[in-house]
């Protein structure tokens, strides 16, 4: 994979020839795309929509062909952004992508009839075409026989049988694609506007070339009898989702710890080898911490995407979505949102990226916009610190009060996500104009190459695209927290200097300026700085509070901070700095607030516009503020 090749895959293909891959979702299109382009593929978004643009290069015998993987489609509905983009590209009316020179139609061997009906509308676009029949082995496994020569004759275009997971037929297909200049436009298939006529045409084409039973996949029916059983189905669902949930916490945990300790070690090394200057501070706290803060999400993203794509390829994800659909449908989401929101308990970033699997654009957006409400692992240090400091260790009805409060905060997050989705469905993102529909594909052993490629591409997208946004933003935050500089005074301890420097900084001044705003929530300027700094990542608020309260930042354990939080008093007024109502208000704030640059960055990358992240940040901040004020006002009256 050479860099120039990758970069140019996205450029308008003015000089090179482009072959478009067209087919319905689950047709095996991705397998063919991966086989043709390998690691040269590049994934982006079409402007303004959450529709993925995938392109790559096929090379061989000194020839070079650009392969464009169009979104999967069932038809050419104007109501679906995915299908609209595909149709515009094929008809040559799309602004950001010239019309391809040829198209390769991916005909799903396990759904021949429906695929052929789609083929007739695609061929009506008049481009030179060829057909690849995927899952060719499944046709025979069901006792059927498809004669590719006869099919080719009745279609008037070349037909290639493919068995993706064994790699059969891929070489001759690649050769044919390289030679696609010789393909001819398919002869017109009569009127294609009427679906009934298309279906009749598909039947006729099939009658000529196919012999065997019309029945579906009996083996999958037997598996579904268990997997979708009214009792066993939900139990299997819970087990699989539990495994998924566990894996992103327990399997990713050690890797994440490894990455963060590596980052810390690198920071420590730089810290000890450089003089105590601003440059050192920039390298350690601006750059190393910034990059480390991005990389720490990688294990979760890779493990989650490996499992999600594996389950998708096996065929289980569609079943899971079927089982969870009613539950999610109540708040205007759909079954596939469940997995995305579940992942958000680890971190909103893989959750938002997993929302990609949701076919309807409005449901995809709704899921992304409520994802940050779900209690992610970055909130845990904030919650546990404040709970330990301010919630008494008593028992209520035999249950520890501290644990109950934590559970309550989790519940609040989930409730906010559901209510948010319900609200969005009723206001900004009203129901889709398309009906809800989902296919249950036959169960099959996945092509592992596809699973690994999917994981690799997500990881690459995250590191390159999100990193490009996250790094400058964390540098900006570092500047805000470090400038203007305060001259050092020999009378101050380093901790005192750090604390005063923070108050003197732009962020500190912002904290002071925000005092009137946050006063109804019981926040003083110190907490305001913590809130501003936590934009880098929520857990940063703990370290920032420690700095402001003048604790040596080197102290790893938080027990010092616990005592300070409980006992610290304002040097001038003598009032306690943090009280129970303030602590509760701060927790309430973090339940709702989108205090996370990385989430905003990934939301931007997934939606390709700042509009949605800005909307999410705005409405979540308003909610967070209201919740903090309400909590403070109520608890302070209850205690008084």
């Amino acid at each position: 994979m050479s860099t120039p090749t990758v970069a140019s895959a996205q450029e308008p293909a003015s000089r090179s020839l482009t072959v478009a891959l067209v087919g319905s979702p689950n047709s095996g299109k991705t397998t063919i795309f991966n086989a043709l382009t390998g690691l040269s593929q590049k994934v982006a978004n079409y402007p303004g929509v959450t529709v993925e643009e995938k392109a790559g290069w096929l090379e061989g015998g000194g020839r070079r062909m650009r392969v464009l993987d169009l979104p999967g489609l069932y038809g050419f509905s104007e109501m679906s952004p995915d299908e609209q983009v595909a149709r515009d590209i094929l008809s040559g009316t799309y602004d950001h992508e010239p019309r391809p020179q040829a198209l390769l139609f991916v005909l799903d061997g396990s759904a021949l009839r429906r695929s052929l009906a789609l083929l007739s509308s695609v061929m009506a676009q008049g481009l030179p075409s060829a057909v690849a029949v995927t899952m060719f082995d499944e046709i025979a496994a069901r006792g059927g026989r498809l004669d590719c020569e006869k099919l080719s004759r009745s279609l008037g275009v070349p037909v290639f049988p493919i068995v993706g997971h064994r790699g059969t037929g891929l070489d001759s297909l690649a050769e044919a694609v390289l030679d696609s200049k010789t393909w001819k436009p398919a002869p017109p298939k009569g009127p294609v506007d009427a679906p009934g006529l298309r279906a009749a045409w598909a039947d006729a084409a099939l009658d000529a070339a196919y012999s065997g039973p019309k029945a579906g996949d009996a083996a999958s029916r037997r598996v579904d009898a268990v997997v979708l059983h009214p009792v066993a189905g939900p139990l299997i669902f819970l087990a699989v989702m539990g495994l998924l949930f566990q894996s992103i916490f327990t399997w990713a945990g050690p890797l994440q710890d490894l990455l963060s300790s590596a980052t810390a070690a690198l920071g420590g090394k730089v810290e000890s080898s450089m003089a105590d200057t601003l440059a050192r501070d920039l390298v350690v706290h601006g750059m190393i911490d910034g990059v480390g803060g991005v990389l720490v999400f990688l294990p979760q993203i890779m493990i989650l995407f490996f499992l999600v794509h594996f389950l998708e390829a096996v065929g289980y994800m569609a079943r899971a979505a079927f089982l969870a659909d009613r539950l999610m449908g109540w708040v205007g989401l759909q079954g596939r949102s469940f997995v995305a929101l579940l992942s958000c308990h680890a971190c909103a970033i893989p959750g938002i990226m997993a929302a990609r699997a949701i076919p309807s654009e409005t449901d995809r957006l709704k899921t992304m916009l409520v994802a940050p409400f779900v209690t992610c692992s970055a909130r845990i240090p904030v919650y546990t610190l404040l709970i330990a400091a301010f919630v008494p260790e008593t028992k209520v009805l035999g249950l520890g009060l501290q644990g109950l409060v934590l559970a309550g905060l989790y519940l609040c997050g989930a409730a906010a996500a559901f209510f948010g989705a319900w609200f969005l469905s009723r206001t900004t993102l009203k129901g889709s104009l398309l009906p809800f529909y989902m296919e249950l594909p036959p169960y099959r052993w996945p092509t592992m190459k596809n699973v690994f490629m999917a994981m690799w591409l997500r990881a690459k997208i995250f590191v390159t695209r999100a990193g490009m946004v996250i790094l400058p933003l964390s540098l900006l935050l570092w500047v805000l927290l470090s400038f203007p500089r305060l001259p050092e005074s020999p009378e101050w301890t380093p901790a005192q200097h750090q604390s005063r420097q923070l108050k003197h900084s732009a962020a500190g001044r912002l904290g002071v300026a925000l005092e009137p705003v946050f006063a109804p929530a019981g926040f003083d300027w110190r907490i305001n700085i913590g809130v501003v700094a936590s934009l880098a990542a929520r857990e940063v608020v703990v370290a920032t509070l420690a700095q402001i309260y003048g604790i040596e930042a080197a102290e790893e354990d938080t027990s010092g901070l616990l005592d300070i939080l409980r006992t610290a008093r304002d040097p001038e007024s003598g009032r306690p700095l943090m009280t129970m109502p303030t602590a509760f208000a701060l927790m309430a704030f973090f339940v709702f607030a989108l205090q996370c640059i990385s989430t905003l960055a990934i939301m931007y990358r997934e939606t390709n516009t700042w509009r949605w992240p800005a909307l999410a940040f705005a409405y979540m901040s308003v909610l967070a503020y209201a919740a903090a004020v309400l909590t403070y006002q109520i608890t302070s009256r209850l205690i008084a």
């Binding site: 759904a111 679906p195 296919e439």
Partner: protein, 83 residues
């Protein structure tokens, strides 16, 4: 609707039926998508699974399995096939 016709969402489990058509009060974009998915007059269809909370349901049509919500499938009119 004729006396022997019923909406798809009320088709009993394992009962085989044939699609008669899609009701005209169903928005055009939704109707066209259903037709793309094979819900065309004469197509054979049967209900093979129902999700735990009663909705959605999975139907066997054209050799494939399609999941539809009742809010949409109630607009599809079917006729029970002779047992």
């Amino acid at each position: 609707m004729q006396p022997d016709e019923l909406s798809l969402d009320s088709l009993p489990a394992s009962q085989s039926a044939r699609v008669v058509g899609i009701s005209s009060d169903f928005p055009r974009s939704r109707r066209e998508r259903f037709e793309d998915l094979g819900l065309l007059p004469g197509a054979e269809i049967s209900r093979i699974h129902t999700a735990p909370l009663g909705d959605p349901a999975a139907y066997l049509i054209g050799g494939g399995v399609l999941c539809l919500r009742a809010e949409d499938s109630r607009h599809v009119i079917v006729k029970k096939a002779a047992a």
